[in-house]
Amino acid sequence: MKDATKQTPAEGIDALPGDLMMWILIVSELLVFGAGLAAFMGVRLTDPAGFSEAQTHLNATTAGINTVVLVTSGWLAALAVQASEMGNILRTRLFLAAASILGVVFLVIKGAEYADKSAQGIDFETHSFFLFYYMLTGFHAMHVIAGIVILALVSWKVTPRNTEVGAAFWHMVDLVWVLLFPIMYLL
């Protein structure tokens, strides 16, 4: 089976790197976040001034730092996959641990951001901007938590396939953030 795939390039579903079920999940998640961000942009049309005003309450700098944290974490996860493919389990675990620690850093910064909002008395009913803000970033943060759990499970049972599947989830979290961040914080 393995030899056959080496000789002829895989086609269709088999060409997807990693696990089909993970791709189903990734596509589903992207559809959900994509729809959420599109809805945000749509509702923004109804009140551009209110949305701009609300956005001034966000801290784009810390969120920008979070972007760097997350893409770096994604890089470490990608390196873990390479280490795993070379059969170096210790190296894989170290990269996965580093990726997870950056995930925790992301959550800490996010938590500080939420604490700041809450200190300003802002909740999801303050303005529809904040409804989307809490809903989408909150959903995303939950996926960061889930991703950390998945990376922990992967480093418990390191195989090239497990690492690839776990890292794929982590990259999806990354991907969502690089779209969410500019749309919500910078536009």
Binding site: R44, P48, V71, A77, M172, L175, V178
Partner: protein, 81 residues
């Protein structure tokens, strides 16, 4: 592209968009520039981190849907300005 090059690209693009947003650039052209940077970043993550560069047909499919989506978002950004 190697994963390390991808990472460096992503960092550079992120810094770029933060600088754009931070130092005065406002208005619709800044928005479109920021969205373009995000588009490239998403493309890099899909192709390199998620490995779609090794599955060209899937890479094209995802790239196409992403393109339609980003153009839609840009359209909404223009409409709001």
């Amino acid at each position: 592209m190697s994963v390390t090059n991808a990472w460096l690209t992503l960092i550079a693009l992120s810094i770029g968009s933060t600088i754009l947003a931070h130092f005065g650039a406002a208005g619709i052209f800044a928005s479109l520039a920021i969205l373009t940077l995000a588009w490239i970043k998403a493309q890099v993550i899909l192709r390199v981190y998620l490995g779609l560069q090794n599955a060209p047909s899937w890479g094209r499919g995802f790239g196409m849907v992403l393109a339609i989506y980003m153009i839609g978002i840009m359209g909404l950004a223009v409409a709001a300005s």
